[in-house]
């Protein structure tokens, strides 16, 4: 059965995921999203995957959450606090969420994964490094190209074309 650290992490992760979607202010919402991402990093530590956990902290909590915060700050003030949703849709969404949780949870609880336990040591980062440079090296190169392409694409998309004479340039 689960221990206290696991339960605390689960409460933090799921609670802040709900808060990220339901808090009125988008700024507090993105800070709650940071809590979810940090909680997932805690789960990675529990699963003996410190390398993935630190990667998660560096990439998600460190850069993605800050990027989201800056984007929220670019949006108009009243839009940050405005909640746009209708009631019927909300109840339908809650029903959909409960159906998914109950059905998938029942499938998992009924399946054979309850009996999977292991005493073997966890795969360490040496194995991951060997994976990256042997079997997955084409995927690694493609991922590098994809990251470069996406950052360039993001810059091109966000470039302003309507400004004729930028005051800052002169």
């Amino acid at each position: 059965m689960a221990d206290a650290v696991f339960l605390a992490l689960a409460v933090i992760t799921i609670g802040s995921a709900i808060a990220a979607l339901e808090l009125r202010s988008l700024i507090y919402g993105s800070i709650a999203l940071m809590g979810t991402l940090g909680g997932i990093a805690g789960f990675f530590f529990l699963l003996d995957a410190p390398f993935v956990a630190l990667f998660q902290l560096a990439v998600y909590v460190g850069s993605i959450a800050v990027l989201i915060l800056f984007t929220v700050m670019l949006v108009k003030r009243e839009l940050i606090f405005k909640k746009i949703e209708d009631k019927r849709r909300k109840f339908a969404g809650i029903g959909l969420m409960l159906v998914i949780m109950v059905s998938l949870g029942a499938v998992f609880l009924d399946s054979g994964i309850k009996t999977i336990t292991t005493d073997e040591p966890a795969p360490n980062f040496r194995d991951i490094g060997i994976d990256f440079v042997t079997y997955y090296w084409p995927a690694l190169i493609l991922m590098g190209l994809l990251l470069a392409g996406s950052v360039t694409g993001a810059l091109v998309l966000a470039k302003r074309e309507d400004v004729e004479n930028d005051q800052r340039a002169s």
Partner: protein, 101 residues
């Protein structure tokens, strides 16, 4: 280790449900991006948990790939939000009837 594989999968299912709720209900572009992030993290948690319990290093490798690709996706998604906000002065997706420039 006292937690079992099924505990991690149940947390992951809960996060998936919350993410799908957010995608279905919210009409704010930024909140939908939050929901997508939550779903991606649920998937990563599953991959690392199965990789720990099988045990196989492929789970962690795939999780690292997934985190890097999610970073790329967020960069493009946020710049799309900025472009759409500049065009419509709004972040409501019901207003984004056409995205052509």
């Amino acid at each position: 280790m006292t937690s079992e594989l099924v505990d991690f999968t149940l947390v992951s299912v809960a996060l998936l449900g919350i993410g799908i709720y957010g995608l279905a209900v919210k009409r704010n572009f930024i909140r939908m991006l939050f929901a997508v992030e939550i779903i991606i993290n649920a998937a990563n948690l599953n991959m690392v948990a199965f990789g720990r319990f099988l045990p196989h290093s492929g789970g962690q490798t795939m999780a690292l790939f997934s985190i890097a690709i999610a970073a790329a996706e967020v960069a493009v998604g946020l710049s799309l939000i900025i472009v759409a906000y500049r065009m419509y002065q709004n972040v409501d997706i019901a207003d984004f009837r056409s995205l052509k420039g």
